[in-house]
Assembly symmetry: C2
Homo-oligomer: 352 residues x 2
């Protein structure tokens, strides 16, 4: 077995240092999360868009399928600027997509995102083994409360400065999210354009900057990437795209198929879907919405207003209007089970 820093697997109580990334929006079904944890890794519920009630239900459904540890992940909120001009300009373009999808512009969202305090209280009440977060930093008090109920706390950093900020609020571990990663950027102290640091460069710098364990993410798909991450000093990896196409994944099939065929030169980091930068496969939605330049409404306003388009496109298999999150190594993904993916990686690591 290849050598690596064992602190994370000991603290997390897992056999294999592989964390299934908390992909919000229906991908991380209880079946996927439990399959990862049952296979010795750490499954993660992407709960950023779930209500407090849905969090309670999803944790219960997952616990019915596994008695192993798993993580729950939330999005740390920030206050968006409500700019009606931007919202209307975005909607004018969205209307052309709605027309193509034969849907009407919906009424304005009652709220743009679930209530974070209620989500957080649900996470505390659920006493999850691991609580991870992204898009910002919790308060030291929130970290302390999570530890008080027995949760290990993991934050997400995209730069050395963010990693230091997270260590300062006393998280247990840090996910270093490289620029290769699919889906939303965790960046919170910089403009997203300034925080696209490749995994190869980011991980050793974060490892040197903090004393707590570092989890590598971004572009890691299989045994080679996991072994490379260990060489950089990571104690575990977090993988999204590779699990998104597993059989237990709840991701839309059109999305899964697009990811399996995704050329890295056709992925792009863009804020057009949600108002927050995220990496996905370039399509008509990105190309046409990008004409708004920097006038995309803030997260989570844009996320709420594009939801109907993305949902209708997903239901109809219209990839050109979907958010097709994918990392830069997506072509290395294979259609398999979560258990087989983890077994294949273990086998590769054991070969050293």
């Amino acid at each position: 077995m290849i050598q690596f820093d064992k602190r994370a697997i000991r603290t997390l109580g897992i056999d294999t240092p592989i964390i299934q990334a908390p992909m919000a929006g229906g991908t991380t079904t209880p079946e996927l999360v439990a399959a990862v944890s049952n296979a010795g890794g750490l499954g993660s519920i992407g709960a950023g868009y779930l209500s407090a009630e849905a969090i309670e239900e999803t944790v219960a459904a997952t616990r019915a399928l596994t008695d192993k540890p798993f993580a729950l992940n939330l999005f740390v909120p920030s206050e968006p600027a409500v700019d009606q001009d931007r919202i209307e300009q975005s909607n004018v373009r969205l209307d052309s997509f709605r027309q193509a999808l034969a849907i009407d512009r919906p009424d304005p969202p009652v709220r743009f995102a679930p209530d974070f305090e209620a989500q957080f209280d649900a996470a505390l009440a659920a006493r999850v083994s691991v609580f991870s977060f992204t898009f910002g930093a919790l308060t030291p008090e929130q970290v302390s409360r999570l530890k008080g109920v027995g949760s290990t706390v993991i934050g997400t950093a995209t730069t050395v400065a963010e990693a230091r900020a997270l260590e300062a609020i006393d998280v247990d571990m840090i996910v270093a999210q490289g620029s290769e990663a699919g889906g939303h950027r965790g960046t919170f102290l910089h403009d997203w354009q300034d925080a696209l640091i490749g995994t190869m460069a980011l991980v050793p710098q974060v490892v040197d900057a903090v004393s707590i364990p570092v989890i590598a993410s971004g572009g890691i798909m299989e045994g080679r990437g996991v072994a490379a991450a260990f060489m950089l000093g990571a104690c575990a990896v977090q993988m999204g795209s590779a699990f998104l196409v597993c059989q237990e994944s709840g991701a839309n099939r059109t999305h899964q198929q697009a990811l399996l065929e995704a050329d890295a030169a056709h992925t792009q980091v863009t804020p057009v879907f949600s108002g927050k930068a995220a990496r996905g496969i370039r399509n008509r939605f990105i190309d046409e919405m990008s004409m708004l330049g920097d006038r995309i409404p803030d997260y989570p306003i844009q996320n709420a207003w594009t939801k109907d388009v993305r949902a209708a496109a997903g239901a109809k298999g219209r990839a050109e209007f979907m958010s097709l999150w994918a990392g830069q190594a997506a072509t290395l993904a294979r259609r398999t089970t979560a258990a087989q993916l983890i077994a294949d990686i273990r086998s590769h690591l054991d070969s050293f």
Copy 2:
């Protein structure tokens, strides 16, 4: 010793699979190139801006210092669009820098870049052990002529498509240049924005796509990165920033000092210095020239017109007007000798 694909070191006739990147513009002195090769790695003369005569002299000076193999690197030319409006708009902004530096706008350049055919003929005549190139693909005939004089031929790819194109012209090896890399992007089949693929994602995909050996570059600074690159399937690494600050380097001291302090979140890929995208430390030159948006003159026109500003700034230690090329892991660089850097990496690799 850690296990890795030995094809490259056997073909190149070197002991240690470390290639010093061919940094053009005076960094790769005969002293640096020879020190790297004498230490068991492969030094590279960055000859992109050298005349045929200077190539002949530099090769001779290097051969006076080492009898080991080294590489010579050229820039494959492309035809720039000469747009006088763009050139004038760029010069108006450059004039403000010239004023700050107390220099006058020079006469228009007689030529924008050295004659490539003459450079190529000089490389052939020099019968260098290794000929590497970037910014494009040679013709199959050029590759064949190089092989005819005994040179191993290495091309540079930033995407899988570029790697396949290089294999098709029968190069011996490919440098896979990840988005972390400092200096110029080798991209030639895509817009540069579409070809910023992290090393962790790029290397295994290129390894899977071609049958020839792959050299990893981008964000690799020391033993950890080299070991990680081997795990991804690379047969060697190419390192720029780490050698740029070595004692034998000809890089400007102000540049070296800036690199040693470069936060990855403060580097940026930009075409403003040369007309071709390159990663450097953000400064006033980048911020003010970026206001021209996509109206920067093409490479090598912009390169020729900014030369006086960069040279004067370098002479006066004015970092805000210099091209401060740096990779995203530059803070891992240490002021040392090339031989010590290579010995430290070997020691790390031997520890496995």
